[in-house]
């Protein structure tokens, strides 16, 4: 067994044996999927009696074909939280120190933290999208299975991006302060990612801020792929991939620097 495999297995076991990881990584996104579908039902029924020609206020963003990609991204934000907690907790005790004294190198640590959470990320996306498909069938909304499968693939850079953010925050902050910071990023990602409102209908600074940050591009890439609108996917996919690559490099540098500082 390689050092990276051994460390990955340990981290995977630590994650899957923490009941909170099920609650937040799987339970919460599924609950939001159901709740937002119910909200959409309510809005649809409240606008059904409008006279012909009246402007419908129904925000179709909560319809399952739009919601699926958004909730998949929302769920991944919790992956960041748990990656962050694993790294920060290891640092706060003497566990990392013990491992520093073994033949493990920084690459083993980083890969060992990222690989198991990547696997969990894939499982999380598959479950979220599968649940979306079931809701679509119940609600009789058209949702292409091929589009869902491809949108899962399109979300891979986003999985990497949130894991890299988790490693970065866990490296830079203590296990006391890191969760608070992650909560801010989770709120920002869901708000500025246009998961709960149509960011394109806004303007000015808010729209610019949404466009500069990666979250909305991850959501749009997933939504457009879901809708089989491949022509417009590429720019969003490129931006989310670029952010994933950049944040991965930054998190590796940060972890290596921290390790070097710890060993001074």
């Amino acid at each position: 067994m390689s050092k990276t495999t051994a460390f990955s297995q340990r981290n995977l076991k630590e994650l899957i044996r923490d009941p909170l990881s099920y609650l937040f990584c799987l339970g919460f996104p599924l609950v939001m999927l159901v709740v937002m579908t119910l909200v959409n039902n309510g809005i649809e029924s409240s606008t059904a009696d409008l006279p012909p020609g009246a402007v419908s206020a129904a925000p179709t963003i909560f319809q399952i074909d739009k919601l699926a990609g958004g909730i998949a991204v929302f769920g991944l934000t919790f992956l960041m939280l748990f990656t962050c907690l694993t790294v920060a907790k290891d640092r706060s005790g003497a566990f990392l120190m013990r491992l520093y004294a073994t033949p493990m190198r920084s690459a083993n640590f980083i890969a060992g933290y990222m690989l198991p959470t990547f696997v969990l990320g894939i499982i999380q996306i598959v479950i979220t999208l599968a649940a979306s498909l079931i809701i679509a069938l119940i609600k009789d909304v058209e949702l292409n299975v091929g589009g869902l499968v491809l949108s899962a693939a399109v979300l891979m850079p986003t999985v990497v991006m949130f894991i890299a953010l988790g490693v970065l925050f866990g490296t830079m902050f203590s296990d006391k302060s890191a969760p608070g910071l992650c909560s801010i990023v989770i709120s920002l990602a869901s708000f500025l990612g246009g998961i709960w409102f149509d960011a394109d209908s806004t303007g000015g600074f808010l729209k610019k801020l949404c466009d500069v940050l990666p979250f909305i591009h991850s959501v749009k890439a997933a939504r457009l792929t879901c809708a089989l609108d491949f022509e417009n996917v590429l720019p969003h996919l490129l931006i989310s991939t670029a952010y994933a690559a950049l944040l991965t490099v930054i998190s590796i540098i940060a972890f290596k620097s921290r390790m070097k500082a710890d060993l001074q």
Binding site: M1, S2, K3, T5, A6, F7, Q9, R10, K13, E14, R17, D18, G93, A94, F95, M97, R98, L99, Y100, A101, T102, P103, M104, D262, L263, Q264
Partner: protein
């Protein structure tokens, strides 16, 4: 060749000197106790000898290998049980041991053999399938030392191994450490005089980063003119040697 040797070892943190000109020579198979009050430099010394900290000046060697220039070799020769128990809390006792076997890239056969041997040596059979977080302090400490021994180290560093343990758990751990005597070189730091007296072949007393006295219990008693390690330690710590 000494199991552990330091030559004029110095460690400075900005304005504070944690270890100052430390010269140690510890023989193979010896149990060597480092005594000192808090902040005396014991843990810093262990950190340098286990490649967890770079010396500011001087040199340190484990089994003739330089702790700075031959770090990889030194890491294969040493094991450390830190002050905190440092175990994976959600893994079982067996899984913790298997995990460290994986870090040393043992084969499946060697992993099974090592885990079984250490579980037996540390009497962990009853708890082998229990998660580490459910263990008491004493059992966790045993697991921590067992994890330090997975890599079959020639030199084992135990940083305050019985800190916070009750009398029974401490005695049990002493028995295990005594079993290891002469098979492996052990350097332990402790605040407990009784522990140093009971376990160690030689004792080093560090005060403010310096090795103020060293020797067997009777040698330290002779140096200070006091009876018992505690009295000898207090006299040395207060600056009086005959």
């Amino acid at each position: 060749m000494y199991a552990v040797q330091t030559k004029g070892l110095v460690k400075k943190y900005k304005t504070k000197t944690a270890v100052s000109g430390l010269d140690l020579a510890i023989n193979e198979g010896e149990i060597y106790a480092l005594l000192g009050v808090n902040g005396a430099g014991k843990t810093t010394t262990i950190r340098m000898l286990t490649c967890l900290s770079k010396p500011t000046d001087g040199e340190c060697f484990v089994c003739g290998k330089n702790c700075v220039s031959q770090m990889s070799e030194v890491k294969k020769l040493t094991g450390i049980s830190p002050q905190d128990t440092a175990v994976a809390e959600n893994l079982t006792v067996t899984e913790n041991l298997q995990f460290i076997c994986g870090i040393y890239e043992f084969s499946a056969e060697k992993t099974a053999e090592s885990v079984e041997r250490l579980i037996k040596l540390f009497s962990l059979e009853e708890y082998k399938n229990s998660r580490a977080k459910t263990l008491s302090g004493g059992w966790k400490r045993k697991l921590s030392i067992a994890m330090a021994m997975i890599g079959e180290p020639r030199v084992l560093f135990l940083d305050e191994p019985t800190l916070g343990l009750d009398v029974l758990a401490r005695r049990e751990l002493w028995n295990i450490i005594e079993k290891l005597k002469s098979k492996i070189t052990i350097i332990l730091t402790t605040h407990y005089m009784e522990e140093a007296e009971k376990l160690s072949d030689r004792i080093g007393i560090m005060i403010n980063g310096e090795l103020k006295a060293e020797g067997t219990l009777s040698e330290l008693e002779a140096q200070t003119g006091e009876q018992g390690l505690e009295n000898a330690f207090v006299k040395i710590a207060e600056g009086g040697k005959e």
